[in-house]
């Protein structure tokens, strides 16, 4: 991988923060954007923009084609059977809200159980809690081990207790843990239990193949994989999506409307009410092209090398505790240093121009599990360099000295 060339594609990586070159290690929260994504969005507004799907004029047709092409690209990116199984949402959170409402309404009844895990992002917890209030379903928590891995024995046992739906993350946003998702899905499949995969943290780093995984639904966000904010993807098996009631009503999602009754459009449009986020979906298409050109395998290898390099260096710092020390994980390192509050570390690293994330990372149940207020989280992308990691570690050591 030619780092210099790659870094030149990302305009923001040239900027300074607090007088120092930006070192961006908050990729798990959101990735930066290559110029081609920014230009694609800008060019669409400059040359092709209009509302899509219903217009007979040229601009509308061009826009519709561009938008629907990204649906095709997305389907092929995750090896979906059909592009009609790709629903564009506002993000992973939005996709979970859609599922929690539409799936619960169509498939679950009072007392039915949804299995999640301790390491879930709030996006895979709170929508189910809201659905629990509306539909009377129950949330069941699969525990984890202190090393940050899922307790698969507990999972097996819980599957025997009348679970109706499983919704578990592929990769933990806080710990980087890669769950044995294929195994978990196979076990659920064997009992005819539907399985939702939260792939928000997996999609930027690895090849996703929904047919190979065998899951029923999968969610992810464009903005974590070089794309713009405001675009998420919900993939679902068409036979399930066809049976589900729409989540929101309005334009685009209808077949025929009378004041007395409305019939709905077919999937995917049934789940895309209102004017969609056209420009950003088209921008996401450029992000997918960029990722595919680099190759997901190359990206994974590069990021794994950065993870290993950073872990080895961080482990030399006294009193530094990494949550999930496994080397087989996503390029995410969550850590604390002695009794130092992560907030203090984050504030001082910012003075060095280094962006990491501190806090609970939208995983408060996981923080409660470890009895900590939060962690410092450094997360890497293929455009990061080993010299950035050197500078990060060096600055972290200085930060610890200031705070001790």
């Amino acid at each position: 991988m030619n780092k210099e060339e790659i870094r030149a594609d990302f305009p923001i990586l040239q900027r300074k923060v607090n007088g120092k070159p930006l070192v961006y290690l908050d990729n798990a929260a959101s990735s930066q954007k290559p110029l081609v994504v920014i230009d694609t969005i800008s060019n669409y507004y400059k040359h092709n923009y209009s509302n899509i799907h219903r217009g007979v004029h040229t601009l509308s047709q061009e826009g519709t084609e561009m938008y629907e092409n990204v649906r095709k690209k997305t389907a092929s990116f995750i090896n979906a059977v059909s592009q009609n199984e790709i629903i564009f949402t506002k993000g992973t959170t939005d996709a979970f809200n859609l599922l929690a409402h539409s799936y619960s309404r169509s498939f679950l009844k009072k007392g039915d159980k949804v299995l999640i895990s301790t390491m879930e992002h709030h996006a895979n917890i709170v929508p189910w809690q809201i659905a629990a209030e509306i539909y009377g379903i129950e949330l069941v928590e699969c525990p984890i081990h202190t090393d940050g891995t899922l307790d698969t024995n507990a999972y097996d046992k819980l599957l025997e207790t009348g679970i109706n739906l499983v919704s578990i993350t592929y990769v933990s946003n806080t710990l980087g843990t890669i769950n044995p998702i294929k195994e978990l899905i196979a076990k659920a499949n064997a009992k005819n239990i539907h399985f939702i995969v939260d792939a928000a943290q997996a999609s930027p780093h690895m090849i996703l193949d929904v047919q190979d995984l065998g899951c029923d639904f999968l969610t992810f966000s464009a903005h974590k994989m070089l794309g713009p904010t405001g675009v998420g993807i919900l993939w679902g098996k068409s036979e399930l999506l066809n049976q589900m009631q729409p989540y929101q009503g309005g334009g685009d999602m209808i077949d025929k409307v009378t004041i007395a009754k409305t019939t709905y459009n077919d999937i995917p449009h049934k789940f895309e009410a209102g004017t969609p986020n056209i420009a950003d979906v088209i921008g996401f298409g450029a992000a997918l092209d960029y990722l595919l050109e680099l190759g997901m395998d190359n990206i994974a290898a590069e990021e794994h090398a950065l993870l290993t390099y950073a872990s080895t260096q961080l482990k030399t710092i006294p009193n530094l505790k990494i949550y999930n020390e496994s080397s087989q994980k996503a390029p995410v390192i969550s850590f604390n240093v002695g009794e130092i509050h992560p907030y203090d570390i984050g504030v001082l690293l910012d003075q060095f121009g280094i962006a990491i994330r501190t806090g609970h990372h939208c995983t408060q149940p996981l923080m409660d599990f470890y009895s900590i207020p939060g962690t410092c989280r450094a997360s890497f992308a293929f455009y990061n360099t080993t010299s950035e990691i050197d500078y990060f570690v060096e600055s972290l050591i200085k930060t610890i000295a200031i705070l001790s």
Binding site: N18, I340, H341, D344, L348, T358, G359, I402
Partner: protein
């Protein structure tokens, strides 16, 4: 007991102190020292009612009315930089009268170049704490005028 110095005088002292600090490391070292010097809040006051809504660092603020009608503020935080910042804010407002607190303008944080700590993304509870101090002052003032 009533503070012999006014709110604006104390703010000026803090601003003057910061003038001698050359770069950000000196500034933060100074803030961290202030945090270390701030006496920890008595455990009996570290209760939910005294928790200031923050996100990342936890702030506790306890207030009580002095016999002379001024308000005593005691505060604490689990993060040392936040603790240093609230040490300064407490120093400015404690043992001042509700009327003085209400008409005061807090300018020193900006003047010493730390306004980013008031931004909501910092979620350190500092901005909420300042709001809360004014709310307490207003509550004590109406309590006093009703006596």
């Amino acid at each position: 007991m009533s503070n012999p110095k006014s709110i604006s005088e104390i703010q000026q002292i803090i601003i003057d102190d910061f003038e001698f600090l050359e770069d950000w490391t000196e500034k933060y070292n100074y803030i961290i020292d202030l945090g270390k010097e701030l006496a920890p809040l008595d455990e009996q006051y570290k209760i939910d009612e005294n928790k200031v809504k923050g996100c990342q660092s936890q702030v506790w603020l306890h207030s009580s009315l002095n016999p002379d009608g001024t308000i005593e503020f005691l505060a604490d935080s689990d993060a040392i930089i936040t603790k240093g910042l609230i040490a300064m804010v407490t120093k400015v407002f404690t043992n001042q009268s509700p009327a003085d607190i209400l008409k005061s303008e807090l300018t020193f944080i900006e003047e010493i170049g730390l306004h980013s700590h008031l931004s909501p993304t910092r979620s350190n509870g500092l901005a909420s704490m300042i709001k809360l101090i004014k709310i307490y002052a207003s509550a004590y003032q109406s309590k006093l005028s009703n006596v």
